[in-house]
Amino acid sequence: MLLALVLLPILAGSAMLLTRGEDRRAYRAVGVAVALATLAIAVAARSEDWSVPWLRAPFVANFHLGIGTLAFWLIALLALCTACAVLAVDSARPRALVGQLLLLEGTMLGLFVSRDLLLFALFYDLMLVPVFFVLLERGEHPRDAWRYIIYNFAGGLLLLFATAAFGVLHGTTDVIGTAGNAISGTWAPWIFWGFAIAFLVKTPAFPLHTWMPNTYASLPAPVAAVVGAVQSKAGLYGFFVIALALMPQEVARYSGTLIVLGSISLLYGAVAALVQTDAKRVVAYSSLSHLGLIVIAIATQQPLALAGAALYIVAHGLFTAALFIGLGYVEEREETRSLARLRGIGAKNPRLAGALTIAGLAMLGLPGLAGFVGELVIITGIVQSGNIAVAVVAVISVVLASAYVLRLFQGIVNGPVVHDLPVRRDLTWREGIAIAPLLLALLYLGVNPHAVLAGGTVAIPRAPLSSTSGVPTP
């Protein structure tokens, strides 16, 4: 079943790329069906464990698949986002786009179900390829494809090096899901930073983020939704299951550096989001800011902060995907993303405006939506860990978040109708269904965060929460 989980979207996507024809309905239907099937398989195979030997020298490596707690939520997020993104595809050439989305889903599913570091590294690099091709064929500038692949491949190489060194020293790479100080001694910092830099590139965090705004702005909205919502979490997931679980001493030793990088990302992303004129870039920089907060939470190793981080990872994925899909709708209708041009969607397309508003409010951290709970729990955790200054920075960034979200919405939703922009019909049923599940999930997790928070809390086998009473009920 687990193997089918990974292979189904990959085979379906490859087959789709080999077909001919551009029937939007058919491709969308198949794509959504595959994505929902993966969700069903993931639920059914949640407790499965599958392993086949791979290497015996120079270290033991297995094709070992399994679904951890955090991984399960990421898989659910991924399947949901993919289904929504596929449904939102409205290109004249849907075949390649849907095919690449399925390939992207398959490779990322592979990443999240890997229980072996080498397999993890394999999928970590493999998931770059579909995005690279989408950027090549549909990106706004060839430069964007370059930046994306070079940055991320360089990160992948460091991961490769760290994996090889880890394997040689530890004897096996079949370690995801286990815990303990696997590596110590003179090599530990090198290996840790190999992993950490790879993950920070992917997340991204300052100063390794420069590929990200261009990539997100250049990608077609459905792909940007999946990449921004889920692929960016691959790095954070790596921090959880590799850095925190296997080398907590190193995380503790370098927590200062990580916290500084996270804080800079947090503030810099928020400030940069305030001055962007491209709506997608606002979301891109906000992502830098929000994920910086998660990096800080990870660096503190505070159980509460980690629990909040796990929830926020899911919440951020949901509202980022919803926003990118929504902005894609705006771009299809108005043929621009420039905040200097857009006005008055609220008057023209009220349903679209409503959807965008809910997603934006989640991003801003409105109580009742999932983003709020995540931020609150993380900041509480940071305060508990004694980093008051960092908590202050985080709160400042939350205030800045209100500013840029409101600026985004004043720019797009409010104001008089601009007469030289086209007037198109409001959200269709299909478009509405493509964004509604994400918004509903945000609302559900906002009022019932225990679904993620309490269900074994976080996939860190090392640090079981002393008691679930530590988790506040918002």
Binding site: A57, A121, D125, E137, L157, F161
Partner: protein
């Protein structure tokens, strides 16, 4: 009168005999049957002969025979490197369906087979005499083959290769002479005695020997000939050289490094080689960036890839040898695959498939070929799910495991640069491009497609079922 060699000796080199006889048979049949489609016949016989040779070599797996007084050692090492040599030969033969004149095809094929004989000899050679014999047999045939195409660059390539390679042979020979002076024996194993450490002749001889090898392997700073020669030579010959020459020369280097050096001197003596390997990774990959010809580009790529393979040998560990061989085999497969795509796009002597201009917009015109090329280029760069990825991680494990961290770092930097160069071609293939259509073969020959498909399958299969060789050592008896 008694013959100096017994039937055991002759049986040990039976595969070479078959391969050489195949070459003769091709020539003879061509003489008789010239009016009747000789090219297809010659190719068929050559391919069958090569496969037969491969089977015979395969049967030697697990044996350990020192033939010709230790001049040629049959063992797993010679079997595996011989296998790569024959793989490269088959890959090159598969590309020979087009190009060149029909009446020359038999001669070309025969020369190619004899060149492969030289390479096979090198895989088992363990005295300086057999090493030199193998290198000359390999090179002499290649000098002719390089100049076959009817263009100025081919003549330049042949002459350049002749001059530079002869110089390298001379340096190698001088080194061998000094080594003989030091040990009083032509056997490589005779050098592995502690007495050699204090012997200046040994140091000088080894130095010259290694310089000669570096020349043949086109390591920096002796690399400049390779791209020029590869560009000038016909496509199948270039494919042959990138794989077979490298495999044979690496076999010699490995045998020298593992079996001929006294333990006290080994690491100090080989350190310059590792340094040169590290520089080659950078120079080769940077050199790729400016190329407009696929053969030149793969020539530079080869310089870097040899660097990777040598990096696995750094520290001369037992596991490193296995990984070096694994990566060599993987490199052979993915490289031959890229050449097969180029051949499928070529209609003959014009070799359209070697000009990077041809790849513009290929993704729209020939989606399957473009996808295959993308796959092989990503494999060369080391992206999953190709065996290039697994090969790189194994090399990293070996290099880091033996303490050569700086070499691992250079490998990472070089690989990152290389992706830029490979992705440039991929980009040209998939960016929508509405410029004038470029010339390319409309109907492809079937053999390159077969070769391409086999390489593709092998490149994926090696990732998930890595056949890591064991029992390569000892290299001398």
């Amino acid at each position: 009168m008694t013959l100096p060699f017994t039937h055991v000796d002759w049986a040990a080199i039976a595969p070479l005999e078959v391969l050489a006889a195949t070459g003769l048979l091709v020539l003879l049949l061509d003489l008789v049957l010239r009016p009747f489609a000789p090219r297809a016949l010659s190719l068929g016989i050559a391919i069958l002969g090569t496969i037969a040779t491969a089977v015979m070599i395969g049967q030697q797996y697990g044996t350990n025979v020192a033939a010709f007084n230790g001049g040629y050692i049959v063992g797993n090492f010679s079997v595996l490197f011989g296998g790569v040599v024959l793989l490269g030969t088959l890959g090159a033969l598969a590309l020979m369906g087009r190009g060149g004149r029909d009446r020359e095809s038999a001669g070309t094929i025969a020369l190619l087979l004899w060149s492969a004989c030289g390479a096979l000899l090198l895989a088992g050679a363990s005295t300086t005499m057999t090493v030199f014999l193998g290198i000359e047999l390999l090179s002499l045939s290649l000098y002719c083959l390089c100049g076959l195409a009817d263009r100025a660059s081919a003549r330049e390539a042949a002459l350049k290769y002749l001059l530079l390679s002869s110089t390298a042979s001379a340096v190698l020979l001088f080194g061998m002479a000094l080594l003989f002076g030091a040990s009083g024996s032509v056997a490589l194993s005779a050098l592995a005695t502690p007495a050699m450490v204090g012997n200046p002749l040994f140091w000088m001889g080894s130095g010259f020997f290694l310089i000669g090898i570096a020349f043949k392997l086109s390591l920096v700073p002796f690399h400049a000939w390779a791209p020029d020669v590869y560009e000038g030579a016909p496509l199948p010959i270039t494919a042959f050289m990138t794989v077979v020459t490298k495999a044979a020369t690496i076999a010699i280097f490995a045998r020298f490094a593992y079996a001929a050096l006294p333990s006290g001197a080994s690491q100090m003596l080989l350190l310059p080689v590792w340094i040169v390997a590290g520089i080659s990774m950078i120079v080769g990959n940077v050199g790729m960036l400016a190329q407009h010809d696929l053969k030149r580009l793969l020539g530079y790529s080869g310089i870097a890839q040899v660097g990777y393979i040598l990096a696995a040998l750094a520290g001369t560990t037992r596991v490193g040898l296995g990984y070096a061989f694994f990566y060599l085999a993987v490199y052979a497969v993915m490289n031959l695959g890229a050449f097969a795509v180029a051949a499928a796009l070529s209609s003959g002597d014009a070799e359209e498939g070697t000009k990077l201009e041809t790849y513009r917009g290929l993704g729209a015109r020939r989606p399957l070929l473009a996808a295959a090329m993308t796959f092989f280029l990503l494999a060369l760069a080391g992206l999953p799910p190709t065996a290039g990825f697994l090969g790189k991680i194994l090399i990293l494990a070996a290099t880091a495991g033996s303490g050569y961290l700086w070499l691992a770092a250079l490998l990472l930097v070089g690989t990152a640069i290389s992706l830029y160069a490979y992705a440039k071609i991929i980009m040209a293939m998939y960016r929508p491009d509405h410029r004038v259509r470029v010339a390319e073969a409309v109907r492809s020959a079937p053999l390159p497609w077969v070769s391409l498909a086999l390489c593709l399958v092998a490149t994926i299969a090696f990732t998930f079922y890595p056949l890591l060789p064991t029992g390569l050592l000892p290299l001398v008896k």
